[in-house]
């Protein structure tokens, strides 16, 4: 038991892939290049506001970690501080083709001590005159691996600037907010995913969001959501589903992961999870479902984690903190692969019921990878003792130029690769019985490999040529 768990842990932890630089925004993002600021009382309020280092609210490169700091304090009623971020040109947007703006910060609405944050678009550079949006825009919060946050607002009419207004708590309080920069993705996949399609990427999610719903009693949320996409090869970091309480008939905690645009055909998801607390692994796995989306549209069928976890991983999954990998290949009712740009991991608290445990589920890593390659079982005669095993990925045609690497193993998990290449000559098959091999595939340049496909080799006892005798 300990051995299995140790092996699994070692295997999972020893998957050699380097920390990959996290994409904060699309490579071709267009940034707001001019800044303005201001603030003041709301009504008869007493207080103060400040915008420090306004010029820092401007993108200056991939290592840009400088920001403008908004402060709004009040002693009576509320005070506001705002920054106004202007793009170089008027951005064409409409109901039929809206554009989403992303503002990098470190604060979420829940971090504010009361008060509020309002985002509003304008069709001019100054923020004076008519606004492009008649009221405060609802915004969505995206979490990044480095702990920062994108606040996203979708604007459905032409605009050139966006204003972020921070309001203090009502009396005797201060709210602060960092504003790093604002951008939009000109090649955005859709209004909620700014990242364009990338045929050869290594499937690292760019951002993640979290949601909860249903009738619950207690604290249901997700802690450290960005840790699930930090590509930590040791899986030491994780996002944790807080399920401290009980659901009242129904309740869900969800984390959604956004990739570089739509998937390739026959892509799959590798989700590395662990459990915490005393929940039975089976119960927890039955409460986890995975669903793919293309934008806001559901694509393919949801899968319950229990149904797609390899049965051999149930035991290690039962040990708190032991990460195991689940592979989810989104497919439709006809078992055809579907294209998706995001995946939702849903913990159904209603299923867990009163057995819900604090930090029941952890997500250590998630990637979008090619599905396991196809490879058929074969039979070999023991007097031959060798046979060529072949594997073929559905993405062979797609990635013929950049390449795929097939790796063969003798075990489902871990171990060193026996061979790299789509045709493996298995030898030493001289004992009648069954021998198992496993093959997976990885994009060239990407260390992370797909799920392993089992290839059974049946070794058959060959007859022995009989002796002969000469007759006249």
């Amino acid at each position: 038991m300990k051995l299995i768990i140790s092996i699994l842990a070692i295997v999972l932890m020893s998957v050699v892939f380097p920390f990959v630089p996290v994409f904060s925004q699309p490579a071709n993002a267009i940034y707001a290049t001019a800044q303005g600021s201001g603030g003041g009382p709301n009504g008869l309020a007493a207080g103060s506001y400040d915008v420090e280092n306004l010029s820092n609210a401007n993108y200056s490169g991939t290592s840009d970690n400088s920001y403008a700091l908004l402060t709004a304090s009040s002693t009576v009623l509320t005070y506001s501080a705002w920054v106004h971020l202007t793009f170089p040109n008027l951005i064409t947007s409409s109901n039929g083709s809206p554009v989403t703006i992303y503002i990098r910060t470190t604060e979420t609405a829940s971090a504010l001590l009361g008060g509020s944050l309002v985002l509003q678009g304008y069709n001019n550079t100054s923020g004076t005159g008519n606004s492009a949006t008649t009221s405060a825009l609802p915004y969505k919060t995206y979490f990044l691996a480095d702990g920062t946050i994108f606040l996203a607002v979708t604007i459905s009419s032409d605009f050139q600037s966006v204003r972020a207004t921070l309001t203090s708590p009502i009396a005797l309080g201060t709210n602060t907010m960092r504003i790093y920069y604002a951008f939009y993705g000109p090649s955005a996949t859709n209004t909620s995913n700014p990242y364009p399609f990338n045929l050869t990427d290594c499937g690292i999610p760019n951002v993640t969001t979290k949601e909860s719903s249903g009738l619950t009693l207690g604290n249901f949320s997700i802690k450290d959501p960005g840790n699930a996409i930090d590509t930590d090869p040791t899986f030491a970091t994780k996002s944790s589903f807080i399920t401290n309480g009980v659901s009242l008939l129904t309740g869900h905690v969800k984390q959604i992961f956004f990739f570089n645009g739509l998937s390739n055909s026959a892509d799959a998801i590798r989700l590395v999870i662990s459990k915490s607390g005393g929940l039975l692994a089976v119960n927890l796995l039955n409460g986890i479902s995975m669903q793919a989306y293309n934008g806001s549209a559901l694509v393919g069928n949801a899968q319950i984690a229990f149904n797609i976890l390899d049965v051999s991983l149930l035991v290690p999954m039962g040990t708190s903190g032991t990460p195991v990998a689940i592979y989810f290949a989104p497919k439709d009712a006809s078992n055809n692969s579907v294209l998706f740009d995001r995946v939702e991991v849903d913990l159904n608290i209603g299923v867990l019921g009163v057995a819900a445990d604090n930090n029941a589920l952890n997500i250590h890593d998630i990637r979008r990878l090619p599905s396991a390659p196809a490879a058929g079982n074969v039979t070999v005669c023991n007097n031959i003792g060798s046979i060529t095993l072949s594997a073929l990925s559905s993405q062979e045609g797609l990635l013929s130029s950049s390449g795929l690497a097939y790796r063969w193993y003798s075990s489902l998990i871990g171990g060193n690769s026996l061979f790299t290449g789509n045709n493996y000559n298995a030898t030493g098959l001289t004992t009648p019985g069954s021998v198992s091999y496993y093959v997976n595939v990885a994009k060239t340049g990407c260390a992370l490999e797909s799920e392993r496909k089992l290839v059974n080799v049946t070794v058959v006892q060959a007859p022995i040529t009989p002796a002969t005798a000469l007759n006249p």
Binding site: N383, P463, N471, P472
Partner: protein, 216 residues
């Protein structure tokens, strides 16, 4: 550990048994039909291949017996051929490793025997020179030789060094192959290969009576 060792041993034994199926050398005679009978008959399939040519349906019986007659390209030049056999226990099953048997095709020997004189009169001493010749056979593998054995009136006889016999009788010179020790020998095939020649020396032939003379 024991399991590993056992598995290794088993694999080795299987491998050895597969490889060490008795490959034999058979001697057959030019133009004489022969049969090779597998120790196990009535398997699903027998693949006999002479050199690179698979046996025809007519050469393999339903039970697996191989029948053939090999004619030498040159009647006095022995040839060595390979006849391999592999079998299928069941159709679509595994083919056994082919076992290569060696077939040595021997020419028929041709012996001639002549004598300087056949008949000797009574009172005349017998003295006949026997000259035996055998066609030269080439291409024989090492270890094979041709010997000549003599009989006189059916009994073993040693021809004197001067090859002159001094007694009347039926002299038979027989040439045959001597095969390497341990080689598989089939008497019928060997018999077919042998040849012999016979001369009869007759002595004591009564002298004709001298006819009486009369003067008329």
């Amino acid at each position: 550990m024991k399991i590993i060792i056992t598995s290794v041993c088993l694999s080795f034994m299987l491998l050895c048994s597969a490889i060490s199926s008795k490959a034999a050398t058979y001697y057959v005679i030019d133009g004489v039909e022969f049969k090779l009978t597998p120790a196990t008959l009535n398997l699903a399939q027998y693949n006999w291949v002479l050199g690179t040519v698979a046996a025809t349906a007519g050469q393999v019986s339903a039970s697996g017996i191989y029948t053939n007659t090999i004619n030498l390209s040159s009647p006095l030049v022995a040839e060595t051929k390979t006849l391999s056999l592999s079998v299928l226990e069941t159709l679509s099953g595994c083919l056994s490793l082919p076992v290569e048997n060696t077939i040595i095709v021997l020419p028929k020997t041709l012996t001639a025997l002549v004598t300087s004189a056949n008949n000797f009169c009574s009172g005349q001493p017998i003295s006949a020179l026997l000259t035996m010749t055998t066609d030269a056979v080439t291409g024989l593998p090492g270890g094979i030789s041709i010997i000549t054995s003599w009989t006189k009136d059916g009994a073993p006889f040693t021809l004197p060094a001067d090859k002159i016999v001094t007694a009347a009788g039926v002299y038979v010179a027989k040439t045959s192959y001597v095969l390497p020790g341990g080689a598989l020998v089939n008497p019928t095939q060997l018999l077919a290969s042998a040849s012999q020649a016979t001369v009869t020396i007759v002595g004591g032939i009564a002298l004709p009576g001298v006819p009486a003379l009369s003067i008329l």
